[in-house]
Structure formats: C-alpha cells, structure tokens
C-alpha cells in the first residue's frame, strides 16, 4: 500500500485527535493566539453588520488571523475532498443506522445524509429546521457560551479552566437532548 492510498483511508481517532490538539501550541507559538473557531462568526458580524451594537464595535481587523484560519479550514476541506477522498463509502455504526432509519433517514452513502442536506430542501420545512434553526442555535449558543468545542472543550479544558468544563458538559447535555428528543420530534413534524 503506498502512502497516498494509506492517507486516503479514514483516519483513526488516535491520529486525528492529537493532530487537532497540536493546533493549540501551533497557534500560541505562531502569534499568541488562543485556539477558537466560533469567534470567527462574531468577527464576521463585526466586519459586515456591526449595526452600532456595542458587542460588535471593536477592531475586528486585529482579529483577522481568525478569519484567515477558518478560510484555511474551508480550503483544507476542499483539498481533502478533491485529492484525498476515501474511495469507499463511510462506515456508520449499525445501531445508529437503525435508529436513523426509524426516523426516515435511510441514505447512508455520504458523509452527510442526503435525506436532509440536499439543495431541494433549502426552501422547505426540513431546510428551515436543519439549516436555519440548527445554524441559528449554533451561532447564538456558542457566543452566549463564549466558545465552542474548540474554544471551551479543547482550549479551555486543556488550560484547566473549570468554566470550560461546565460549558462542555452543557454542550453534551444539549447534544444528547437534541439527538434523542428534539430530532425524533422534528422528524415527526416534517414527516
């Protein structure tokens, strides 16, 4: 097996996790930046629609590194998908497949469920729930919490900050409730 074939396979957690963890010292050493991604949403608001709101009145240009970092993430997504894609279909736990099939999600061929994340759903109720409502909760919740999985769960806990542990526990509780209660309810609504 050559190198390209090897890295085209899905990467196990013990490779991916440590590489993500190394982002923390990389950003600190490059320019004393704390690892965090949800802040980019705030900087984008401050740059595009500050609307005289005090929360968005700051020198966002001084934080432009964060916008460049997330641009890099999108570019990395492009490179990985275009040149390093796994030729085989994603393997999803059979229990999860059964649970989702019971909710009407039956296409397990891609990284994202085609039953939900397709262009034709943009203007219907599914799109409203999964893109608009879901995205709103992500943006509102992360900023209210002062960080996301990167800023709190990884950077915050790695720096032994107990408020970040509280935030992370709440992310997980919200996720369990969202998956086990909210998702079945919403899928029942959209039919």
């Amino acid at each position: 097996m050559n190198f390209l074939e090897l890295i085209r396979q899905p990467w196990p957690w013990y490779i991916a996790g440590p590489l993500i963890g190394l982002t923390v010292p990389a950003l600190l050493i490059i320019g004393n930046k704390p690892f965090g991604i949800s802040s980019s949403l705030r900087h984008a608001c401050a740059a595009c629609v500050p609307a005289n709101i005090s929360f968005f009145k700051y020198d966002w240009k001084a934080e432009s590194w964060n916008l460049i970092f997330v641009l890099g993430i999108a570019l990395g997504g492009f490179i990985a998908t275009q040149f390093l894609a796994d030729p085989n279909a994603i393997v999803i736990a059979s229990d999860t497949q059964q649970d989702l099939a019971a909710l009407g999600i039956t296409d397990f061929s891609g990284l994202m469920p085609a039953d939900l994340f397709s262009v034709e759903n943009i203007f219907n109720f599914k799109g409203l729930i999964f893109f608009v409502f879901g995205g709103f909760l992500v943006g509102f919740g992360t900023r209210y919490a002062g960080g996301c999985t990167s800023g709190h769960a990884i950077m915050g806990i790695a720096n032994l900050q107990w408020p970040s542990l509280v935030a992370t526990i709440c992310f997980m509780i919200g996720g369990f409730v969202g998956t086990l209660v909210l998702l079945p309810w919403l899928m029942g609504l959209v039919g």
């Binding site: 899905p10 196990p12 991916a16 996790g17 440590p18 993500i20 982002t23 923390v24 600190l28 320019g31 004393n32 949800s38 949403l41 929360f55 968005f56 001084a62 590194w65 970092f69 641009l71 890099g72 993430i73 999108a74 570019l75 990395g76 997504g77 492009f78 990985a80 998908t81 999803i92 999860t96 990284l111 469920p113 799109g127 893109f131 879901g134 995205g135 909760l137 992500v138 943006g139 919740g141 900023r143 209210y144 919490a145 002062g146 999985t149 709190h152 990884i154 720096n159 032994l160 408020p163 526990i169 709440c170 992310f171 997980m172 919200g174 996720g175 369990f176 969202g178 909210l182 998702l183």
Partner: protein, 171 residues
C-alpha cells in the same frame, strides 16, 4: 500548576465582558500581525480542515453516533485532542516558551458566567441538528456541501442576535 499560572499575565477586561467575549484584549499583542504569520495561520487552518474531513469529524453521522453512544470515535478525537493540548500548554508554561517573534505566551482565563450553561445547552441542541460545531461548518462548505452556507449564514445571524440582545440576557 497554580504556581506556573501566576506567571501568566492576566489581561484586564471590562467587568461586563468576560475575556473570551472581548477580542483584542485577551492577547496583549502589540506588534501588528505580519503577513508571514497570516500565511502560517492559513496553513494551520488547511491542515486542520484536512484532519476534519479525513477523520470524518465533519460527518453528520459521526455526531449522531457520538450522541447515541454507538461509537467511540468522536470521544477519542476530542479526548486525545484535549490531552495533547493540555500537555502542550503545560510544557509551554514550564519552559516559558515564546512566540516566533519572541513575545511571552499568555492565555486569558475563562471567567464563569451563566451563559456557559444556557448558551452551552442551546449550542448542544444545534450541534445535534446540524451535525456540526463551527469548525466543521467551514470544512463542510469547502468539501462541497454548499447547502451548509445557509447554516453558516444562520449561525452568523444567531451570533448577531446574541450581540443585539446580550444586555437583556442572563449571564
């Protein structure tokens, strides 16, 4: 740990804003960001985005498996990332490591506020629905899932709405 932490500069912040809510204050970087550094952040972002896709962290299904306790994958990813991050910060503090430009490395502490509970729960619900925290949103768009642009715009709207109502929300 306590002793080494005291060597760290605690950045001043207004009482109504926690450090992480006040950009530009948490890092006392006086030198303007040079272009080479911006290129470095881009490269770290690219590598990070590749890991996101190759470990299938951007997959809605992986997040479902995590919240249904059907797979260890995401717990392994986040757990080992925290461990490596923790060890890195420990060594940076122990060795008093400097940035590339020779500045002292400082990390602002996180101040507790109730928003971490309310906001955390709301974000968790959104995480389950969208199958993405903010990082994977960008990687999904780059991977060609263009409908996620709607999710990202809505996340921006959510952040904006938080900013609009911030003073009236319990913290």
């Amino acid at each position: 740990m306590k002793n080494t932490q005291e060597n760290f500069v605690v950045s001043p912040s207004a009482p109504d804003l926690t450090p992480e809510q006040k950009p530009g204050v948490q890092n006392e970087q006086r030198n303007p960001e040079n272009v080479a550094n911006l290129g470095r952040y881009l490269i770290v972002g690219v590598l990070f985005g590749i890991v996101f896709v190759k470990a299938e962290i951007i997959s809605w299904f992986r997040i479902q498996e995590m919240f249904r306790l059907d797979s260890f994958h995401m717990y392994g990813v986040i757990g080992s990332a925290v461990m490596v991050g923790m060890l890195s910060i420990f060594l940076i503090k122990k060795w008093n490591a400097k940035t590339l430009s020779g500045d002292k490395i400082t990390i602002a502490p996180k101040t507790f506020q109730k928003g971490q509970i309310y906001g955390g729960l709301l974000f968790g619900l959104g995480w389950a629905l969208t199958g993405a925290c903010p990082g994977p949103l960008y990687a999904q768009i780059g991977s060609g899932f263009l409908v996620v642009i709607i999710t990202l715009l809505s996340a921006m709207l959510g952040t904006w709405t938080y900013g609009y109502f911030r003073e009236r929300l319990p913290h």
